[in-house]
């Protein structure tokens, strides 16, 4: 990375003093007939599909009616809550197991390997069901200071959290490991040479730099989580999909309710994508000489260019 940085930027965008003035090139651009044809074909298909939907057994008016239904909103918040909580569990486990996986201690790294192997190798749906039915193996939970029936302990929320969180942890461990390994060894050395301990080095030097590699796939993981969380229907957790299904089964508005759920899932993933953009920008500091503009800055730049052009005209 550093060798890129050695070459201090010169005044690259100002032309050298002796350069001769030049005429801008005037040429007729290439015509892209293929693009026009394919655009027309695709548009026709979209119209046909839209027509099919409008003629199908769907009462469209139901969709906006139910979009803000009380139970839908409750399910929506539960979906956000279980996704965020599971992701948090996944992140913590991911960091812990990534560090363990890279440990020089063979026992520690084997444990981490086993965890990743197990939880990545089985379907998350099955894992959810196993947690939910854990009482079949451990009828009573006894932690010494705390004792209760497993069926009482393993609420839908806890089963969902363990199922999604532990599964996510296995994926995050691999992402975090790749991130840690992407950081130059010289960084660890410099930090150790300053007298920082292993833990301080990991927290202050390695992980912040690993973030640049970790954040983009983690954003994808979270977007996946928002959608995968719909599997918690299997453990009776009342999420967005469950709320939609409940209404569907009583009102016979089956497709309508699936559309309602889809609209909310799309809204969630879209809002999060914007957040991810800013997060990636934050962790790029120091790595990029100039940060890319935020969407808002782009809009402002375009507006000012537009008004300048008007002023000239």
């Amino acid at each position: 990375m550093t060798d890129k940085l050695d070459k201090a930027s010169g005044p690259a965008d100002t032309p050298p003093a002796g350069s001769t003035p030049h005429e801008p090139i005037r040429a007729i651009p290439v015509r892209h007939y293929g693009r026009w044809i394919s655009a027309v074909v695709i548009l026709a298909l979209v119209v046909a599909l839209g027509y099919a939907f409008s003629q199908g057994n769907v009462r469209w008016a139901t969709v906006p009616e139910k979009l803000f239904d009380g139970s839908i909103i409750k399910g929506l918040f539960n979906t956000i809550w279980i996704s965020v909580a599971s992701m948090a569990v996944g992140l913590v486990l991911g960091v812990v197991f990534a560090v363990m996986r890279l440990s020089k201690n063979p026992v520690t790294s084997t444990i981490a390997w086993f965890y990743i192997w197990l939880f990545r190798g089985t379907p998350v749906y099955v894992q959810l069901l196993i947690w939910f039915n854990l009482a079949l193996i451990f009828p009573v939970l006894n932690l010494g200071f705390y004792k209760d029936e497993m069926t009482q302990v393993m609420t839908p929320f806890l089963a969902a959290l363990l199922g999604l969180g532990l599964n996510e942890g296995a994926y995050m461990a691999e992402i975090v490991r790749a991130g840690i390994q992407s950081v130059d060894e010289g960084q660890t050395e410099a930090s150790h040479a300053l007298g920082m301990t292993q833990t301080q080095t990991m927290r202050r030097v390695v992980l912040p730099q690993a973030m640049r590699v970790i954040v983009p796939p983690t954003g994808n993981e979270f977007i996946n989580m928002l959608k995968t969380s719909s599997l918690v229907v299997a453990v009776q957790y009342y999420d967005l999909l469950r709320a939609a299904q409940d209404i569907a089964s009583t009102s016979f508005a089956v497709m309508e309710m699936f559309f309602v759920a889809s609209i909310w899932y799309l809204a969630l993933t879209s809002v999060f994508s914007v957040g991810q953009y800013y997060l990636e920008r934050y962790y790029a500091r120091g790595a990029l000489r100039t940060l890319p503009p935020t969407p808002w800055q782009k809009v402002k730049a375009n507006l000012s260019r537009f008004s300048n052009r008007k002023a000239v005209a």
């Binding site: 050695d6 130059d184 050395e189 150790h192 040479a193 300053l194 007298g195 301990t197 120091g286």
Partner: protein, 253 residues
């Protein structure tokens, strides 16, 4: 007076590769000690052993009278814990060929990091010292720049300031100017010269023979993991006794 660094028959291997084959040397306090030798002769390895970035396989290594990386009780050696090794390294500054500045921190944050994290110093105190040190290396106006916005020579001077912030009693330089464009070497050497004049004990691995001759108090020529020749820089460089030294110097001078 105890030597600042004392090596007694230091051996180091990586697996089957025997890199250091019995290094004996002594560096006195306030001394500028230059280490030269062909690439692969073990110079970096030796420096890294001094602050225990590498474990030695044989011999003994003392810094300011303390055994590096171990505690001796009777005739038994006990390995130090991670936190104890870290504590030993506080007093030894190191400057790397490739700078190794923390790219996610500004210049001033790089310099503040260790005093705040390791010594638990308040940010205000650390910042004040960082400003002073950046001034000293001629970068008083670059404190808020990230390393990527600095030239190589500037980065290396920040790296020196970062090491000095821990107020070390010994500074290790591993080819600090080898990765720099020729016109940037002078600024870094000036900072090092200034540091030497202030009385810092320094071990400098370098190919800058001019610097070694002018600033060095002692010079060692290493080859194949052993010390081949040592003495005052002007003597070793001006009148080498061994054929290997002569052959090496004829290539670099």
């Amino acid at each position: 007076m105890t030597a600042m660094v004392k090596a007694e028959g230091v051996h180091k291997s990586y697996g089957a590769a025997h890199i250091l084959k019995g290094i004996d040397l002594e560096v006195a306090p306030r001394e500028v000690f230059c280490l030269i030798g062909p690439s692969g002769s073990g110079k970096s390895t030796f420096l890294r052993c001094i602050n225990h970035l590498e474990k030695i396989n044989g011999g003994k290594l003392y810094v300011d009278g303390d055994l590096v990386g171990y505690r001796q009780k009777g005739d038994k050696l006990y390995e130090l814990k991670d936190s104890e090794v870290a504590a030993q390294r506080r007093d030894i500054g190191m400057v790397f060929q490739r700078f190794n500045l923390f790219p996610h921190m500004t210049a001033i944050e790089n310099v503040m990091e260790a005093p705040v994290m390791v010594k638990g110093e308040s940010k205000a105190v650390a910042r004040e010292r960082a400003i002073r040190l950046l001034d000293r290396v001629g970068l008083g106006d670059k404190g808020n720049n990230y390393p990527s916005m600095l030239s190589g020579g500037q980065q290396q001077r920040v790296a020196i300031a970062r090491a000095l912030a821990m107020e070390p009693k010994l500074m290790l330089f591993d080819e600090p100017t080898s990765a720099l464009d020729p016109e940037l070497v002078g600024d870094v050497l000036d900072v090092m010269r200034d540091l030497a004049e202030s009385g810092m004990t320094m071990i400098v691995v370098t190919h800058e023979m001019g610097f070694a001759r002018e600033v060095g108090d002692n010079l060692v020529f290493m080859d194949g993991g052993v010390v081949v020749e040592s003495g005052h820089p002007r003597e070793v460089l001006g009148n080498p006794q061994h054929d290997r030294t002569k052959a090496f110097l004829s290539k670099v001078l």
